[in-house]
């Protein structure tokens, strides 16, 4: 114990630790966070939420107003986290009357760890079903994948590369079929034309597209229409130039490794470990008005052949198998089945903010009581 105290004291006195724990760093970090939230909110008005989040809350350097550099919010929060960890390791006293402070700091650390887990592992997607339809996978809002798949009865075996990997010059193996692609271009947003570029190659495409033109990304990221151009190489076969556009309604059919394979640039799919069948969507109105009072989806959740009825309605999500289904939207049209859209979230760090809040509260309460008791004793002794 004495040895532990000794090295903590030694470390706490060191210049490096003093520098790391300098209050000015904390103050500057908090001011930067304030500025990032302020300017990020302004930026969002013109460029959309996704772009603002990516630019102001990532790890890069942000040029506020186009000239003033600031670190991204994630970077700043990491600096604050390191400060907190160092402070707990070398400075916060190991004393019984400090246990409340320890609990408070552990709670804050839980919040930061929860934020990190959410940033790294949380997945947000959506599922739209018409009444009577069964959903087996959810779809990303704006993240794309280059998918190759074989149909095996009702099941598709999918091999997919995330769109982030589709960088010009990059070679990616399509290992199940012994093939390889060499990416020539990937546009986050593009227009497709059936005209062919002058002297351009003939592209293999299922919709007759001959030309892609890059377009400025949309303010609303979900409106982007990406496109990719690549060479498909297969041993013993002539190379094929392929163009895929995300708005194509049908996949391209290819023969790869002697098999019939489908290829499509599409929003990422996330298979569910169960299926969800929408039985009925109900929109209730306030009496005598057209103002909705509630949206309710009645569905059957089936896993391993066993079904159970579930209900999802506003502010009452379905939580199951680590997934949370929120009632997000709906569609009703004359002569058409009602449709319901669920926002689907998986987040392993979901519980940590609650744990953190309770922990911090408990720590503050404990510390208050620890300080209160001697104060009361002293007061009564006088």
């Amino acid at each position: 114990m004495t040895e532990t105290r000794s090295w903590r004291r030694t470390a706490a006195r060191s210049g490096l630790v003093k520098a790391v724990l300098h209050p000015a760093i904390t103050l500057v970090c908090l001011l930067i966070l304030f500025a990032l939230i302020f300017f990020g909110t302004l930026y969002q008005a013109d460029h959309g939420l996704f772009e603002a989040q990516k630019r102001f809350f990532g790890y890069g350097i942000v040029l506020v107003g186009g000239f003033f550099p600031l670190p991204g919010a994630s970077l700043v929060i990491w600096i604050l986290s390191v400060q907190l960890a160092v402070m707990m390791t070398v400075q916060l006293a190991w004393r019984v009357n400090r246990i409340g402070l320890w609990i408070v700091h552990l709670g804050i650390m839980a919040l930061l760890v929860g934020g990190f887990i959410t940033q790294m592992l949380a997945v947000e997607s959506q599922l739209t079903l018409a009444e009577g339809e069964i959903g087996h996978f959810t779809t990303a809002y704006h993240e794309f994948e280059l998918a190759f798949w074989e149909s095996r009865g009702d099941t598709n075996s999918v091999f997919a590369w995330n769109a982030e990997m589709l960088q010009p010059g990059r070679q990616l193996d399509i290992s199940p079929y012994g093939a390889r692609i060499t990416v020539h271009a990937y546009y986050q947003n593009s227009d497709a034309f059936t005209t062919k570029a002058t002297n351009g190659p003939h592209y293999l495409n299922g919709s007759g597209i001959g030309l892609l033109e890059q377009r400025k990304p949309e303010k609303e990221v979900t409106q982007n229409a990406p496109g990719v151009i690549f060479t498909l190489s297969e041993p013993g076969q002539a190379n094929r130039e392929v163009l895929l556009y995300a708005q194509e309604p049908r996949p391209l059919t290819l023969t790869l490794g002697g098999k019939h394979v489908f290829a499509q640039l599409r929003l990422k799919h996330y298979p569910l470990p169960f299926s969800l069948k929408l039985n009925q969507f109900v929109k209730n109105l306030h009496p005598g008005t057209d103002i909705p009072s509630s949206f309710e989806s009645y569905a059957d959740l089936t896993e391993n052949g066993a079904s159970r009825p579930v209900k999802v309605w506003m502010n009452n999500p379905l939580r199951t198998y680590g997934y949370t289904f929120f009632q997000a939207s709906y569609a009703q049209a004359e002569g058409q089945a009602n449709k319901s859209t669920f926002a689907v979230v998986t987040n392993p760090g979901r519980v940590l903010p609650y744990v953190s809040s309770i922990t911090v509260f408990a720590g503050l309460l404990l510390h208050f009581l620890i300080r209160l008791i001697p104060f009361v004793r002293r007061e009564t002794a006088i």
Partner: protein, 231 residues
């Protein structure tokens, strides 16, 4: 007297281990998912689009709205966006006819030769149904859609509310592929359908011009005030 070492040896808090932890954290932050995703999924089977009027009308036809009933006893009014000019039309079915032009040209008093033709039409009942009317519009710009594709179009069509609260659907044919999109005509419009009436807003013109006018058309649709039908 020599100073004690900054980080004593054989401690978890040694300089080496600190750098190692920092390096691992930086690697975690910097790395991207470089592995392909391999998974199985049950193929999605959309329900066939079918309704009481689903098989009626003239799917894919390019003329009049199929199964058009008499105009409903409703009153439709709107607010025009900047740059839109009312114009005469020989089409008696139209209750509104506009040239949607570049706002800068309109301000300068010039006539935009590439102005988009915008029409407002009202019909009684469901006017043949949603699908038949979308097919009719698609036919006017040389597009076709299978039942599955039509299902997807309707599914993806954004919904909006008119100023008087009716729900409408924005139909965007600009993103679909047929012919040379730099030269061909395209349509961006909206359909507001109830049991009593259907109101169509259609902006038709050159691809680039229609794309430019999309926000104005969408905003215009939200200003529609549909009052009635009278008892």
């Amino acid at each position: 007297m020599s100073r004690p070492p900054f980080f004593p040896e054989n401690r978890i808090f040694s300089l080496k281990s600190t750098f190692a932890v920092a390096a691992v954290l930086l690697a975690l932050l910097g790395c991207e998912e470089e592995k392909p995703r391999v998974y199985s999924e049950v193929a999605f089977k959309p329900l066939a689009a079918a309704g009481p009027m689903g098989g009626m009308g003239m799917p894919g036809g390019t003329g009049m709205p199929p199964m058009a009933g008499p105009p409903a006893d409703i009153k439709v009014t709107w607010t025009l966006p900047k740059g839109w000019m009312p114009k005469d039309s020989a089409n008696a079915m139209r209750i509104g006819s506009f040239a949607a032009m570049d706002a800068n040209l309109a301000n300068s008093g010039e006539i935009d030769p590439n102005a988009v033709d915008v029409s407002v039409v009202q019909l009684g009942g469901t006017a043949g149904g949603l699908e038949a009317n979308i097919r009719r519009w698609m036919g006017q710009v040389g597009l076709k859609a299978s039942p599955e594709e039509m299902e997807a179009i309707i599914k993806k069509a954004p919904r909006f509310k008119t100023a008087t609260g009716q729900e409408g659907m924005l139909i965007d044919l600009t993103g679909m592929l047929s012919g040379d999109m730099t030269q061909s005509k395209t349509i961006y419009g909206a359909i507001v359908q109830t049991e009593e009436y259907t109101v169509f807003v259609k902006a038709m013109g050159d691809f680039a011009q229609v794309k430019k006018q999309k926000p104005q058309v969408a905003a215009f649709c939200k200003t529609l005030r549909i009052e009635g039908p009278k008892a």
